[in-house]
Amino acid sequence: MHKIVVVIPNKAGLHARPISQFVEIASRYQAPLAVSCNGREVDGKSILQLMTLAAACGNELELESDGVDAEEMLKSLENLIRAGFHED
C-alpha cells in the first residue's frame, strides 16, 4: 500500500478545475485511488465525490493506492498538487 500526504497550497483550494485536472491524471492509471480529507474518504477518480470534500487551501489530502502503477500515479498527483494546480 502506498500513501502520500500533501497540503493544498493554492488559495482557491480543490474546486472544479483542479479536480478535473486531478481526475484527468488519475484516470490514466490502473491502480485504484482513495483520497481522504478531514476524515472523509472518497474515490479519487470521481469528480463528484472529490467535490464533496470541499478541500480548502491548507487542508491535507491523503492519497492511498496499491498496485502496478500506484507509485507512479501518486507521484504525478503529488506534483500536480504541489504545483498548486498551476493556479496562483
Partner: protein, 153 residues
C-alpha cells in the same frame, strides 16, 4: 451556510429551450436579466466570463449535471440559477452525456470557502440517486425548488 437560501422559485428555469452550449448559457443569462436578477449592463461581462471558463474545461461534470460558474472581481451579491433542459444539451461533458440540469453561479472572487461549500452542496445533490429523475419529472419551477429543498437539506 444554507445554500437553499440562494434559490427561490424565480431562480429556477423549468424549461430551457436552447440545445447548444453557448445558446443555453446565454439563455440563462438573458433570463437573469429579464427577471431582474442581473443588471443588463453586466450581461456581456458575465457571458464572456462564463464562456472563457468553459474554454478552460467543460463544467459538465457527469450524471447530466453542469455547473457553469465564474468569479468576477467586485461582483455584487450572488447570481444563482438552476436550469432544466428536458431535451438535453451537448455540453462536451467529461462523461460524454448530455446535460439536463444546470447550476449557474456568479459571485465575486473573494470567498474561496463559500465557493467550495456551494460545489460541495451541488455535488451532493448530483450524487443523490434520484435527484436527476425527480427534477426531470417535476412539472414546474415550484416543484423543482421543492426537490432542491427535500434532497438538499
Amino acid at each position: 451556510m444554507n445554500h437553499l437560501d440562494l434559490f427561490k422559485e424565480k431562480n429556477i428555469i423549468a424549461e430551457l429551450q436552447e440545445t447548444d452550449k453557448r445558446g443555453v448559457l446565454e439563455e440563462m443569462v438573458d433570463y437573469a436579466v429579464s427577471s431582474e436578477l442581473l443588471a443588463k449592463t453586466k450581461k456581456k461581462a458575465v457571458i464572456e466570463a462564463i464562456m472563457a471558463r468553459e474554454q478552460l474545461g467543460s463544467t459538465g461534470l457527469g450524471n447530466g449535471i453542469a455547473i457553469p460558474h465564474v468569479k468576477i472581481k467586485g461582483f455584487q451579491g450572488d447570481l444563482s440559477l438552476v436550469g432544466r433542459s428536458t431535451r438535453g444539451v451537448d455540453f462536451k461533458s467529461i462523461d460524454g452525456e448530455h446535460v439536463s440540469i444546470f447550476f449557474m453561479i456568479v459571485s465575486s472572487t473573494e470567498d474561496a470557502e463559500k465557493h467550495l461549500s456551494i460545489l460541495q452542496w451541488i455535488s451532493g445533490l448530483a450524487r443523490h440517486r434520484d435527484f436527476k429523475s425527480f427534477v426531470l419529472g417535476a412539472s414546474d419551477a415550484k416543484e423543482i425548488l421543492g426537490i432542491l429543498k427535500e434532497i438538499g437539506s
